[in-house]
Every structure is written in C-alpha cells, then in structure tokens.
Symmetry: C2
Subunit: 167 residues, 2 copies
C-alpha cells in the first residue's frame, strides 16, 4: 500500500470514496446532501494536509490532518479517515492511521483528538482502541442517526509525546 499527499488530480477518486459515506450519514456529521464543492473544501482545502492510500494504482482510502484548535490548543491534531467500500477489510484504515500518526509527530503535534466518534460505529471504536485511543468524553444523544435516532458520540484521544508503541 502506498500512502502519499493528495493532489488536485485525485479529487474525483476521493469524492467517489466520500460520497456514499456522506450520503449514508451514519458515521460523519457532514450534511447528507453535501455538494462535492463543499466536501472538497472541508476535506481537501481547509485541512493542513490531505492524503490518499493506493493499492496498485487505485485510490482506496483518504484522510486529512489538521490542528483541532488554534492558539493555545494548536498542539493537538485531528484527522478524518474514509475507506472505499470495495477495499474494506484489507487494513487500509490501520495503514492510514499509522501513517497519520507519523505525520502528526513530524508536524510536532503532541496529541490526536477525534471529536465525534458515533457510538454505533463499533468497528471504528474497536480500531481506535486497538491503536491506543482512550474514550475521554461522551456526548449524550449528540448524533441523530438516520435509522436509529439519537445516539451518543465519543471523544477519543491519544497522547503522542510518549515513546512510539509498536503499532
């Protein structure tokens, strides 16, 4: 698997990964009817850096990395990850996370924070726990799931200043 920074030419492939996830509305708080232009802004333009994961020549995953706050909070980063449905179960998310942690350390971030991990996204929660994240907060009823109604969201956090664990 190759991980590299995204280029503007990657956008169509990135959007083909994002669109079904955004339209499903079960794992992210993006509006389900979000336009490609709005998605491009939040995924490609606002973050500090956006990356793609390739198997062969096919883009199978993408993530962004940004500061979670400005000012006195700008040493904590935030990332968002999406994997193509056709590439599930091949370790793409884990590979992207490992890459993102190295990138975050390289930028000098001291921690990574996920602001909104939806309680029903059990696969993501299990993955983040396996990769060293702790649940540091719970937001009661903070997400309206399209099928399940109001569900909780977690805040998950990992300190990066200690020695690298073997991931």
């Amino acid at each position: 698997m190759i991980l590299r920074p995204a280029t503007p030419q990657d956008w169509d492939a990135i959007w083909s990964i994002l669109e079904p996830i955004i339209r499903a509305g079960e794992t992210y708080t993006y509006p389900r009817d979000m336009s490609p232009e709005a998605a491009k802004k939040v995924w490609m333009e606002s973050p500090r850096q956006t990356y793609v994961a390739l198997i062969g020549e096919t883009i199978v995953g993408t993530y962004y990395l940004k500061s979670n706050q400005t000012g006195g909070g700008d040493h904590v980063c935030n990332c968002g990850y999406m994997v193509a449905e056709s590439a599930q179960g091949q370790g793409v998310a884990t590979a992207m996370y490992r890459h993102s942690e190295e990138e975050a350390r390289g930028f000098g971030y001291r921690a990574m924070q996920f602001n909104f991990v939806i309680e029903t996204n059990t696969r993501a929660i299990a993955l983040w726990e396996r990769l060293g994240f702790a649940t540091v907060g719970r937001l009661p009823g903070a997400f309206q799931h399209p099928r399940l109604g109001y569900v909780d969201a977690r805040i998950m956090y990992k300190t990066l200043t200690n020695k690298r664990e073997h991931l």
Copy 2:
C-alpha cells in the same frame, strides 16, 4: 440589562471586549495575535447569531450562538461568551447564558456543548456547573496556558429537551 442581536455598528465595542481576552490567551484557543478582521469573522460572521449585553447604553458583554456540528449533529449548539473587564461581577455572563439558552431552545436545539473549557478557568467552570452543565469529557494537556504550561480542558454539556429549570 438589555440583551439583543449585535449589529455591524457594534463591532468596535465588541472588539474592545474581545481584544484583551484574546491577547491574554488564558481562556480561549484563539491565536493571541489574532487580527480584528479574523476575530470579526469567527465571532460575528461565522456564527448563526451574535448578541450584545448592555447596561444603560454601554455594551458590557457579547456572545455568539452556532450549531456545533452539521448534518446528524446539528441539533447541538455551541456558544462563546465574553464580558468586559470593567463589568465583571455584575451577573453579565449569567444573564447572557440565560438569554442564550432561551434563544437556543427557540432555534430548536436539543443540547448545548462547550468544546474547550480550560481547567484553570475555575470561575467559568463554577458558573457552568451552577447553570446545569455537566463535565462529559476531559482533554489531557490539550491547552498550552501562557503562564502555567499544558493544562487540561473540559467538554461541558447541557441537555435542553427537559423542562426548563428555574435559572
């Protein structure tokens, strides 16, 4: 005390409240060297609504109200409040909070979330607890305090769907 939506003409008075708080950098994550233009954008332009509190004809406080997330998270709002140093201890923050809760209910929000209440801001924490907020999360070392180094930040949350309490 009068609470009303801010107008563009209020900006100079609002900035005179914001500037010393931003420059001190002890209670918000705005960059300490933030320009007035950047502050105007985040405080006056990006939020759903901005308000001012007046004693007589003097603006003594200001707050903004916005959705904390989009999509499936857009039923939870977020507010930020600042009080002029010269008006401390006169109940301005409490009056603004009461007003903001009514406004939030009027907009149909089901909860209010504060994403980053810095642990050393004990006056704010005591106020939010008195007004019904619970600490639902703790971010270890997430804030670099200009005098005290890395300190924790809290996530505080209040559900608004139950019966109004007597505030």
